[in-house]
């Protein structure tokens, strides 16, 4: 079992790179299939959010697998690897498990401890299951990751203080508008993050919420949750003059809010300030809009800068969360190793036992005068020989399996004795550990 994660996030790469590398969820089946069909990876999951793009894969050879994922990212998005490589991080084996657990628990997020990422990790796993690129290891790994995230959430206060992108947006809005009572907000695109920000704004007094979405029905659905007004997507520019806060989160590859347009809007609204929160990647609001007087544009990266100041509190909680993760990794690894070692031991025993039985039968057939009692003695003796010979190898194997080089032992044993692993036994072992 070799686990590799290759990816990039907000810490290692600017938004300009991330937006080029993103995988839209509507068409994620195709890259997933390519990953397992053309790049020789056994199992694969692609996580693509506005802050990170990560490929997790199970591979037979760790270095080769890592290289294949890098090539896949570069080929798929037609970006030369030399350009991409400096932004990529690689986690292998235990480090990869740790990374996944940390990501799911929100510890690696831009806003530490934010809860949205868990949903996104769940989605990414869901896509892998849907497209048959998730196997036994990935299944177990992700279920464990969800468990860990839940434990972190319930046992630490990491999610308690309202430090998140959406809250940062509210804080900024307060610094611009003072009181938010009576202000109007518009969602352009109805993403989860946008919805959350809108909810925060509403609980802080924003009076009216307009929702424009390409699928009108979705806007109507969303509007029901917070008594807003759904508007047709193509008509949203006409409403801008009455809107104070715009939250953009569409999947549009181009800027949908442009400076020329906002110049006119500002004239119409007599320069009352406007606040643009652009949480979409690629960006929806032209950064030039920020140069217009009384317009303030914050994209995902900018919001990050805002929340950094508020994060110190969460650092303490994070420490505790890291402890939980370390614990869970150990448990998970014990399971993974046992998964390898148990069937190996079973196979080893089986192979020895079949030799013993065959030889015993051969010997017994040459001595016809053997009675019941003698047969029992011979049976017991040969079994004892096999057990005694296997005693040390099995004990060592069990012990070594929990260490890093455990794979090597298992591999050697399998090769030396030409063992074939029984799939049924693997599944049984997996179930017995799956509480």
């Amino acid at each position: 079992m070799n686990l590799v994660i290759v990816g990039l996030n907000h810490k290692t790469s600017p938004i300009e790179i991330r937006e080029k590398l993103s995988f839209p969820s509507q068409t994620i089946g195709e890259p997933l299939a390519r990953l397992t069909n053309h790049y020789g990876l056994a199992e694969g999951v692609i996580l693509s959010t506005c802050n990170r793009v990560e490929v997790l894969a199970i591979t037979s050879e760790i270095e080769k697998g890592t290289w294949q994922i890098k090539r896949f990212l570069s080929d798929y998005h037609s970006i030369p690897l030399e350009k991409l490589d400096e932004h990529l991080y690689v986690h292998q084996g235990e480090e990869a498990v740790k990374h996944l657990f940390r990501v799911a628990a929100g510890l690696d997020s831009m806003v530490m401890g934010e809860p949205q990422i868990l949903g996104q990790v769940k989605d990414s796993y869901g896509y892998a299951v849907q497209h048959n690129t998730a196997g036994i290891i990935v299944n177990k790994l992700y279920h464990k990751a969800f468990q860990v995230a839940k434990r972190v959430r319930t046992e630490t206060k990491i999610g308690e203080s309202a430090v998140s992108i959406s809250f940062a947006a509210v804080e900024l809005a307060r610094k611009i508008f003072g009181e938010l009572a009576g202000k109007t907000c518009m969602l352009v695109g109805a993403g989860e993050m946008a919805e959350l920000a809108a909810r925060h704004l509403q609980s802080n007094g924003v009076r009216e919420i307009l929702v424009a979405n390409r699928t009108y029905e979705k806007a109507v659905d969303l509007v029901k949750c917070f008594c807003g007004t759904a508007i047709m997507f193509r008509e949203f520019p006409h409403y801008l003059k009455n809107v104070d806060i715009v939250i953009a989160s569409t999947a549009s590859p181009n800027f949908i809010i442009k400076p020329e347009q906002i110049h006119d809007v500002m004239r119409e609204r007599k320069n009352r300030p406007m606040f643009f929160i652009d949480i979409s990647v690629p960006r929806n609001v032209d950064p030039e809009v920020n140069t217009i007087d009384n317009c303030y544009v914050y994209d995902v990266d900018d919001l990050q800068g805002v929340v950094v100041a508020n994060l110190h509190e969460r650092q303490k909680e994070a420490l505790q969360a890291e402890g939980i993760i370390a614990e869970e990794i150990e448990l998970f690894y014990r399971w993974i190793k046992s998964l390898d070692v148990v069937p190996t031991i079973i196979a080893l025993r089986k192979s020895f036992d079949s030799v013993r039985k065959a030889e015993l039968a051969k010997a017994v057939s040459t001595i016809p005068s053997l009675g019941e009692k003698e047969l029992k003695v011979l049976e017991a003796m040969t079994s004892a020989i096999v057990n005694k010979i296997l005693h040390h190898p099995v004990t060592h194997l069990k012990r070594e399996a929990n260490k890093i080089e455990g794979d090597l032992y298992i591999d050697t044993i399998r090769k030396l004795f030409d063992l074939t692993i029984d799939e049924e036994a693997v599944k049984k072992a997996a179930q017995s550990n799956d509480d």
């Binding site: 307060r174 610094k175 003072g178 004239r267 007599k270 009352r272 007087d293 805002v306 100041a309």
Partner: protein
């Protein structure tokens, strides 16, 4: 001292420092008031006829307005901008001759206190508008560059600053207008002519037009925010410019004394 404390507050952002700074300011203000009263008693008229006195009076009235504003709108942070400004005025005053200059007899009139108080109240409102403008520009800068640190966290929101700036202009402008009118009436009584087209009067008129344009722009063309803040700065520089230049050029009392 107040200035130092306010600056310390801005950097350290400790609530207690702000309270201490405020108390020191109030104490200073009490002494300031006492000084003005004694000088008023000594000269027998509004202590704003010499350049020295008028600066002290200006400083005092600005702080008075700030204290009212701080109580009414709970915007104590503004003190961090008002106190250095008041200090600057006082330092300038301390370099000027302190003796009481006798006023030309023609100017002795009841119109003197009326005109002077109106003019300085107006000036003080404009000074506050100017300081609020500076605050606005600083805050706007933080928000535009998205580098949020330091005093960003203690300054009020843009809308609040803008609102206060507008209020100050709204109060300042009628006062300035009234000051110009009373000045003209006084001039009529004193020297028999409403309007002399002297430096001082011309400058006042220019300043009046600047503020009129600013207010008009705010009301109709939607000038607000940074633009309005910059303009209130420009208008104030013109106001201060007229005040300083004329006082230096003509040796006080708008050159009417000669």
């Amino acid at each position: 001292m107040t200035t130092v404390l306010y600056s310390a507050y801005l950097f350290a952002r400790k609530e207690r420092l702000l309270s201490v700074a405020q108390w020191v300011l109030v104490t200073g203000y009490v002494f300031h008031t006492a000084t003005i009263i004694t000088r008023w008693a000594a000269s027998g008229r509004t202590p704003a006829t010499s350049f020295h006195d008028s600066l002290i009076f200006f400083s005092w009235i600005t702080v008075t307005l700030f204290l009212i504003l701080a109580i009414k709108y709970r915007q104590r942070v503004l003190g961090a901008f008002v106190s250095p400004f008041a200090l600057l005025l006082l330092i300038t005053a301390s370099f000027l001759p302190k003796q009481l200059v006798p006023l030309a007899p023609v100017l002795e009139s009841y119109w003197l206190p009326v005109h002077v108080v109106l003019a300085f109240l107006g000036n003080a409102f404009f000074a506050l508008a100017f300081l609020l403008g500076i605050m606005y520009i600083i805050q706007d800068r933080y928000l535009k560059t998205r580098k949020l640190r330091g005093i960003f966290f203690v300054l009020p929101s843009l809308d609040t600053i803008d609102e206060l700036n507008y209020k100050c202009l709204q109060y300042g402008f009628p006062l300035l207008t009234a000051a110009i009118i009373t000045g003209a009436i006084w001039s009529e009584y004193a020297i028999g002519s409403y309007w002399e087209w002297k430096h001082r009067q011309v400058w006042s008129l220019i300043t009046w037009f600047l503020y009129a344009a600013l207010l008009h722009g705010r009301l109709t063309a939607g000038w607000r925010g940074r633009k309005a803040a910059i303009l209130s700065g420009v208008a104030f520089v013109s106001l201060i410019g007229s005040y300083f230049i004329i006082n230096i050029l003509s040796g006080g009392a708008h050159g009417l004394a000669r």
